[in-house]
């Protein structure tokens, strides 16, 4: 049976729940009502949706790092350090937990204890369990979000939300296609319906929890219209399950105009589609990810990339910016390196946040372009699903209507080929099976031609490879040397 975008009934949800909670021993500690009671007692300062709302109202950009280590005390100390400079905090989950490999996560915890430093690339929240997660919320004075990359994130959600986390990243598409190889899309969308329904239940119990689809996807030359289309679909799926606070994300491309247009169009398009599909009374915000592709190894150069991300986040007026660090090219950052990224971002952010208005005139045409592309693709997805967004998403990926460049999933066609134009904006070199209209195709082709003329070479896969390496090698457009 194909999946449908329909709110899970209480009976359906309750039937799934025991199996979820018993998939690892720590699931047994989850008590929804106790969780709700704890949330009700949380001070405003620890609530993610409140922080987002206040930021949008004050036209400020919230700064958020990524951070997670293997052991609880170290993790709390890390977040306490970062909370001196960040506005909202993460708990980044390790990669074994993301694949539900709790045995291996346990090995990672044990070896980290022996080694005296973290051997895991995140905090294994499921293994540590509810009490430990609760301690994070109790001992950290700012809102904390679960950030991960988990196709089946049901148990993780049950534990962390009951523990008091007030925001949960991910989605059935965005935490599958870039993060897995063989998980069927239908399966991950189904499992995320569960997560969204859980959030919807908290909402119904008076506890607002923010949900954030993962915007950047593969982080590598993703054209804005594609990540927007997917973000909006995930937003629709979440709304249907009762989620009411949604943050849609976008990963910096590098071209100033395109990136500002992307944030504006994301906000506009999401509102439009959410309302057109009959949802209202939602709280919508945006998150801008500083450059998500390969970073330069040199830390000073990394600071420049970070600063440019901070600059554009401010000029675009995103609600939140996810901050990279000078260690990005090398490894999980130390707390200090993480702070450095936040400090640089904070400086440039507050220097530029008053300057948004002057750029509006030049971004309008690009907003219009993205809008047209997104609308075309979303209509095609809806048509593919015969009106149903869940079915539509699954069929659209199978048909290549939705297609994420450089994603590892076998359920992703991988036929769409992006390339930068002469000003560094991401355009399409091969449209794959994405059903863009003729004018749009002609526009992309002309832009790519302009560049290939400048460089005196035909558009080719080497050009794409050059673009993948470009920022790590100190440029934006991967010109031949």
């Amino acid at each position: 049976m194909e999946i449908v975008n329909k709110k899970l009934t209480d009976a359906q949800f309750d039937a799934l729940r025991p199996q979820v909670l018993s998939s690892w021993p720590t699931g047994g500690d989850v008590d929804f009502d106790e969780g709700v009671a704890f949330h009700h007692d949380l001070p405003e300062a620890k609530r993610f949706p409140v922080a987002l709302d206040q930021a949008d109202q004050a036209r400020r950009v919230l700064l958020q790092p990524r951070a997670g280590v293997a052991l609880l005390e170290e993790h709390i100390a890390l977040l306490q350090l970062l909370s001196t400079a960040a506005d909202v905090l993460p708990t980044t989950i390790d990669a074994y937990t993301r694949q539900n490999r709790y045995d291996e996560a346990q090995k990672g915890i044990d070896k980290s204890r022996q080694a005296g430093h973290s051997l895991l690339n995140g905090f294994p929240a499921v293994n540590h369990g509810l009490r430990a997660c609760r301690e994070i919320i109790e001992r950290v004075e700012k809102p904390v979000q679960v950030r991960h990359g988990t196709p089946d994130a049901r148990l993780l959600a049950e534990i962390t939300l009951a523990a008091g986390f007030t925001s949960y990243e991910g989605g059935g598409i965005s935490y599958n296609i870039p993060y897995t190889k063989k998980v069927p899309l239908q399966k991950s969308i189904e499992d995320w319906q569960y997560v969204d329904r859980l959030v919807g239940r908290y909402e119904a119990a008076g506890v607002r929890i923010n949900r954030e689809p993962f915007g950047p996807l593969s982080g590598t030359l993703v054209p804005p219209f594609m990540s927007h289309a997917i973000a909006i679909i995930e937003g629709l799926l979440a709304l249907e399950q009762g989620v009411r606070s949604i943050t849609l994300g976008y990963g910096q491309a590098g071209n100033l105009v395109q990136d500002i247009a992307a944030i504006h169009s994301l906000r506009q398009l999401a509102r439009h589609w959410f309302e057109a599909e009959g949802y209202s009374d939602f709280q919508l915000s945006t998150v801008f990810h500083q450059w998500m592709g390969g970073f330069p190894e040199d830390e000073s150069k990394a600071f420049a990339v970070i600063s440019w991300g901070g600059a554009v986040a401010a000029l675009a007026g995103a609600t939140k910016v996810i901050v990279k660090t000078p260690h990005e090219a090398s490894g999980i950052p130390t707390g200090e390196a993480n702070l450095q990224g936040i400090m640089a971002t904070s400086q440039i952010n507050s220097m530029l946040v008053d300057q948004q208005a002057s750029l509006l005139p030049i971004v309008q045409p690009e907003i219009e372009r993205i809008r047209r592309e997104v609308n075309t693709v979303l209509r095609a997805v809806k048509a593919a699903g015969e009106g149903d967004w869940a079915t539509g998403a699954v069929r659209a990926f199978a048909a290549g209507i939705l297609d994420v460049p450089f994603a590892p999933s076998i359920y992703n066609k991988g036929k769409l080929l992006p390339v930068r134009d002469n000003e560094g904006a991401i355009r399409l070199f091969d449209f794959g099976a994405v059903p863009l209209d003729m004018d749009t195709r002609a526009f992309h082709a002309a832009k790519v031609k302009e560049r290939s003329t400048t460089e005196g070479r035909e558009p080719c896969f080497q050009m794409v490879i050059d673009d993948i390496y470009s920022i790590s090698k100190g440029r934006l457009v991967g010109r031949p040397r």
Partner: protein, 140 residues
């Protein structure tokens, strides 16, 4: 032109696909027969593929930080399964955190890898080393 077969893949629960796709394109263009297992490859999958295709080398990638855990024991397992003469390379962001590369290299050399590479490695250089190592292995 050589006609060696090499196996590529990203080990463990690691989903980083971009470097892997570039390595595939690069070694293919250089004339190798490339068997690319993509991301999230287990040790046994690497070995199965090498046996099946008669590969002369396995090039393991690990980007996400769990390399230290995921890569340990691969050499022994190769030998167990009868792959005595295999060239074994590993590259990427091999450990958690920004570490001194010398120490990381020693760690992975002592695990039995023939060569250990940083992300910033020049691939043309790797090509040369690989053909030397394959020649030496064939001769020895």
């Amino acid at each position: 032109m050589n006609t060696h077969t090499i196996v590529l893949g990203v080990i463990g629960a690691d989903c980083h696909a971009v470097g892997n796709k570039i390595l595939e394109a690069f070694f293919t263009q250089a004339g190798y027969r490339v068997v690319n297992l993509g991301v999230m490859v287990s040790q046994d999958e690497f070995i199965d593929a090498a046996i099946e295709t008669g590969a002369a080398a396995i090039l393991v990638s690990s980007l996400y930080g769990h390399g230290e855990i995921d890569c340990a024991g691969l050499r022994e397992r190769c030998i167990e399964r009868g792959l005595e003469n295999l060239v074994l390379y590993v590259g990427g962001n091999l450990v958690v955190g920004k570490a001194d590369f010398g120490a990381t290299r020693d760690k992975f050399l002592s695990m039995g890898y023939d060569r250990v590479f940083q992300p910033s490695v020049d691939l043309d250089g790797v090509l040369e080393l690989l053909s030397q190592d394959l020649a030496a292995r064939a001769g020895g």
